[in-house]
């Protein structure tokens, strides 16, 4: 079953003093997310990730296109009972305590009074805030606020959870904690749609990812697809600087320190390089593959964009 289906979703903003110019923020996005998937929505800042989430949450209205969540229109209030949302760098009512905030959001989501009390206790325990008592949120650290943010997003036990840059601005400990929480939701079978520009987080958590840049979708696939889309490289180290001249054409880059040579070579050229080094009687020290990361894919696509723009 499809948890999210986005069809031709577009958003343009009117800009300029007279609001006559149109600036596209999202260009005809088509995307589907299956139930139970953890889906990463990747892109640099300003790519259109938050715009997409705002459209899905009904915070802004689309210029064209539509979106369904769990088979119903995204704006349907019934759908909103089944979804949870954590905005980017959220701000909460800082005059409230964590239990008060969660109680407020639970009421808005239609959770009964009896269920609220039990659920709030369980959730504060789950996000590691059971000992905060009635301390107001204005006294919370950023990491604590992010955990409260995740708690409010799941207070009503939603089926689909949307997280906008959930690790943004957190220190390594905070990021680890939030990652663990998301992993817990994933293990519980929830559908998770999260946007991020931190690629390692997507690599660690996502079943599939989509890459968006300048409001346009650039690719969708499982994380391994993206790895293989990036040309595999191999790092080779040997002793014998004189051999470099014979292999220069095969290399991506090289560093020479005295007699020690360290190069990276496209995997396709590896056999020829090793053969040449043998002929040159160079002493091989190591051969190690370098796996392409989402970041490489990301950078490669961005560079392609820039080249096209220059042309």
């Amino acid at each position: 079953m499809r948890a999210i289906e986005i069809t031709g979703l577009s958003k343009e903003y009117a800009v300029g003093f007279w609001k006559k110019q149109r600036r596209p923020a999202l260009k005809s996005l088509n995307l589907t997310v299956e139930a139970g998937e953890t889906f990463g929505f990747l892109g640099p800042n300003g790519a259109g990730k938050t715009t997409t989430l705002k459209l899905l949450m009904g915070i802004i209205f689309p210029t064209a296109g539509s979106a369904t969540i769990l088979g119903r229109d995204a704006s349907d209030p019934e759908v909103k009972r089944k979804i949870g949302f954590l905005p980017e760098q959220p701000y909460f009512y800082d005059y409230l305590s964590a239990p008060e905030l969660l109680d407020y959001y639970a009421r808005l989501s239609g959770v009964s009074a009896a269920a609220r009390k039990q659920r709030i206790g369980e959730l504060l325990e789950q996000v590691g805030l059971s000992d905060v008592g009635n301390k107001q949120l204005r006294k919370f650290s950023k990491g604590m606020l992010q955990r409260v943010g995740i708690a409010q997003a799941i207070i009503h036990d939603p089926e689909v959870i949307f997280l906008d840059e959930p690790m943004s601005g957190l220190d390594p400990v905070g990021r680890h904690e939030v990652r663990e929480l998301i992993q817990g939701l994933k293990d519980a079978g929830k559908t998770i749609f999260f946007s991020t520009h931190i690629l390692s987080d997507a690599e660690a958590l996502c079943d599939r990812v989509a890459v968006i840049h300048k409001g346009e979708l650039r690719g969708v696939g499982v994380v391994n697809d993206f790895h293989s889309a990036v040309a595999e490289q191999t790092e080779v180290i040997w002793l014998g600087a004189s051999a470099v001249a014979a292999v220069t054409g095969l290399l991506t880059e090289s560093h020479i320190t005295g007699e020690t040579v360290r190069v990276t070579v496209p995997s396709a050229n590896l056999d020829r390089l090793l053969e040449t080094l043998r002929q040159q009687r160079a002493r091989l020290i190591s051969v190690a593959p370098i796996h392409g990361t989402l970041e490489d894919y990301f950078l490669a696509r961005t560079r392609e964009e820039q080249k096209e723009a220059v042309r």
């Binding site: 802004i60 905005p87 009503h156």
Partner: protein
């Protein structure tokens, strides 16, 4: 729906209380106490008149100031701080949010005015020496002040849905001042001719008429306020507020919250 509306109303009230809005009560008490030497210098009989004027005008003015200060941020602050994102992603209709915010600030003002009223009657008892039957008539003026708040909250809320806090404050205060001179605007219309007459008349009917809601001078002189005026003002305030809140909802329903 009721649960969501009451949740937003209660949270708006709680925010105002925790932001120490009710501290203005201390100011109100200090004002009455500071006025005491003044009352003692006035000839017997006039001190009540003085106290009623000072007390009721303060309840009205302090309430309007709170309305503007809090009201201008009711929606714009939620947009600016993005707290609205986590509300609109729930099964909350936009009109429910607006209605809840309206009722929340109104509740704050009613509680505030109720506490001030108690303080006012205590002051009356202390400075005048006793309460008489006619003093109960002062409650009509306080009721009209509450009707005034109903309209002012609606107006500030309307501005808050599309304008910045600074402009909202300026617009709302300007409307309050114009509304206070509503009767003068009507008088001006009757004396004018041609297009000016129609413009003045249109403005007199479109602008809130706070003049007819101000009976402080009348009750201070123990004049009775007719039930007809009470009924008319009640219906007027209800309809005017409803129209303005509806306009606020219509704007907010279409607004992209960047």
């Amino acid at each position: 729906m009721t649960s969501r509306l009451s949740a937003i109303t209660w949270n708006t009230f709680r925010e105002a209380v925790r932001d120490r809005i009710l501290y203005n009560l201390v100011f109100f008490v200090l004002l009455l106490v500071a006025s005491a030497p003044l009352f003692s210098q006035i000839s017997i009989g006039l001190e009540r008149l003085m106290l009623v004027n000072v007390g009721l005008s303060s309840i009205s003015l302090i309430g309007v100031v709170i309305t503007i200060l809090v009201g201008i941020g009711l929606v714009s602050k939620e947009i600016e701080k993005k707290t609205l994102y986590t509300i609109l992603s729930r099964p909350v209709r936009r009109w429910e949010f607006i209605a809840g915010k309206y009722l929340g600030l109104l509740l704050t003002l009613v509680v505030n005015a109720a506490l001030m009223t108690v303080g006012f009657y205590v002051a009356l008892l202390i400075f005048v020496g006793s309460l008489k039957r006619a003093d109960a008539g002062l409650l009509v003026a306080i009721y009209f002040i509450l009707l005034q708040f109903m309209i002012m909250v609606a107006i500030t809320l309307l501005f808050s849905t599309f304008s910045t806090p600074v402009f909202s404050a300026i617009f709302a205060f300007a409307l309050f001042v114009i509304g206070a001179f509503g009767e003068d605007l009507k008088n001006f219309a009757t004396l004018s001719h041609g297009i000016t007459k129609w413009l003045a008349l249109a403005a007199a009917y479109i602008m809130p008429n706070f003049a007819s809601l101000n009976v402080i001078a009348r009750v201070a002189h123990d004049e009775r306020v007719s039930m007809q005026l009470v009924a008319f003002n009640t219906i007027y305030a209800l309809l005017y507020s409803l129209a303005v809140v509806t306009a606020a909802v219509m704007i907010f329903e279409r607004r992209n919250l960047k």
